[in-house]
Subunit: 397 residues, 2 copies
Amino acid sequence: MTGGPLEGVRVIDLTTVVVGPICTRTLGDQGAEVIKVEAPGGDILRYLAAGSRSPAMSGKFINFNRNKRSIVLDIKQAEGLAALKRLIAGADVFVSNVRPAALARAGLDHASLAPANPRLIHCGIVAFGTEGRYAGRPAYDPVIQSLSGVAGTFERATGEPRFVPMVMTDHITGLVAAQSIGFALFRREKTGQGEAIEVPMFETMASFVTSEHLGAATFDPPEGPSGDARLLSPDYRPLPTSDGFITIRPNDNRQAFAFFDAIGQPELKADPRFATPISRTEHAADYFTIQVEALARRSTAEWLEIFAAADVPAARYNSIDDLLDDPHLGDVGFWQADEHPTEGRIRRTRTPVTFRGGMREEVLPAPRLGAHTRAILAEAGYAPAEIEAMLQSGAAA
Amino acid sequence: MTGGPLEGVRVIDLTTVVVGPICTRTLGDQGAEVIKVEAPGGDILRYLAAGSRSPAMSGKFINFNRNKRSIVLDIKQAEGLAALKRLIAGADVFVSNVRPAALARAGLDHASLAPANPRLIHCGIVAFGTEGRYAGRPAYDPVIQSLSGVAGTFERATGEPRFVPMVMTDHITGLVAAQSIGFALFRREKTGQGEAIEVPMFETMASFVTSEHLGAATFDPPEGPSGDARLLSPDYRPLPTSDGFITIRPNDNRQAFAFFDAIGQPELKADPRFATPISRTEHAADYFTIQVEALARRSTAEWLEIFAAADVPAARYNSIDDLLDDPHLGDVGFWQADEHPTEGRIRRTRTPVTFRGGMREEVLPAPRLGAHTRAILAEAGYAPAEIEAMLQSGAAA
């Protein structure tokens, strides 16, 4: 028993890279038992990212694959495919990020699997919804960032389209897939019926972007240009201090006036450009210039102390590496020091969400490729001799 | 009956702006009945974003608040607070993004609410986990982008920290909150017990960023610098063509060699710098320069046709406005033309995830402030005279 809200849920995970693995890691973090099915070469994320102590165990792979066990099956061989189907027949959830046509050819679509397991929930993560013309096309995260308007938000802000330097559309879609599986598990408790879920990356991200930025174009005909102008300013960024950066957000009148006092320019409180939220929005460029000029005069630490005393919303800026030493993250035990059985001492992040009703207790280390092949086959009812034969033939590894 | 996996789930929503409303919209989209409880002034998102046809009904508010009904209660008045507690006593889920101390003072924390409703799931969305030193501080999305390393990814990529031009940390945390509620609902079906969930924005986003970018610093001591270098290049962006932009991703050897053929430089296939994925990574700057020079020679449409024929992953770049005309989104019915009862014709996005087991059927339009105050109070058992008295006193509106 794992603890956690998804205790007792068995997940067969036929996914690679990020979009699927963050979905199934989330399920595992919350108590599900996750079996990661890998092709003989293994999930490409094992190799893609730099930084590892042994082959096929990159840091990025480790971070996206804790709380899973690994079985290697060659599903191009009949016996490997049969083993996968036997695993799925005993599972609650099957997650794939394989193209639907290939899945159907292998008999791994929901319609083919449901007769043996009517309670099965299949979650198919796809690049594009199967009813549109892009269906079946390959997609990488930047392709979806390019199509879905993520890069477009930067063009509006700075004049040049850019990608967010994360595989953000994979990551968000994977979180939505885990969310959808939770909803389906809830319904299954009441109806006893499994089902098929389709989670398309493009549509998911187009919904994400347009919920934020459809704006006045929500109306037909539009009431003005699309986009939330507050977010599309070229100046929407941490601002330089004398020794680093700071983020401030003096929004309402109290905060704005406290800010003017704190920077020693109380006369601005009487300036009609800055008297109300609306006038500050109309004179956003001037308001911004005042911030830039003032903040450059002191260090980040000095400003943080001054703004804390004045109750002006302000925060330090953390580089990626600064997160390792952030004092709040230290307080909440965000960084856990794990001893990985083969990779040595690693940093693991705590599950950020807490459930008062009980959390997963034991954390499984990210698995070496095929580390649990024998054990999982045995649990599925394969006899020792059958397992040896599969290992000999390469149907398992 | 709404249809959808969360049919029959009743949600009381005491949230504003984005982080809470996207959580409860997600629950509503999937079939939950959501009651949005607003203070007399209403959710500030009604006013914040530009573009509306009538006051307090901005496009952005409409997009984040479909499938909800609105009741106005002044919970600073005893009768308003009592009405909220009566609603929560009859609900499955209570979602708040109020600071925990204020919630407890009003008796709206889980411990105070559970005696009247032991099956209640309370999801408290907070800026910072309650056990750390930043607990209780106010946070706006840019504060979390600044602290959590989101802005830090841009410093690594371009030398300058930036925010993603969306309220991305609100948006993602809200999706994670909805996910967590689904998991808790599943467990409650089995145990009968409610619970309290805490979803902190900072920790959620620090986990998001470091899962991607801890990299070689996953190991202690680190095996190299943090960060996934593939994503942190200044050139990680859509590339200019002769008339716009295009995104290409020739990753494996077949794709890379097909790309060299397609641009009329087949000799590069024999160039040792580009012979393998590893050598192309080592010579990423050169590989990039070749792409930039080639792509500028033709139009986006020409390149898309050429790369489609050569099976090189490539995609158009969509500005925010281009999404309105994207052909795939048209095929899948992404844009729905709704007639809002008071705001006229609007564009609504379809729920991107599909559940074969049944979807929500009727879509509720985003509510006017307090549109359902009388109806919801009546459903909660208030007599007509009591309702009139509350409206007179301003406890309801």
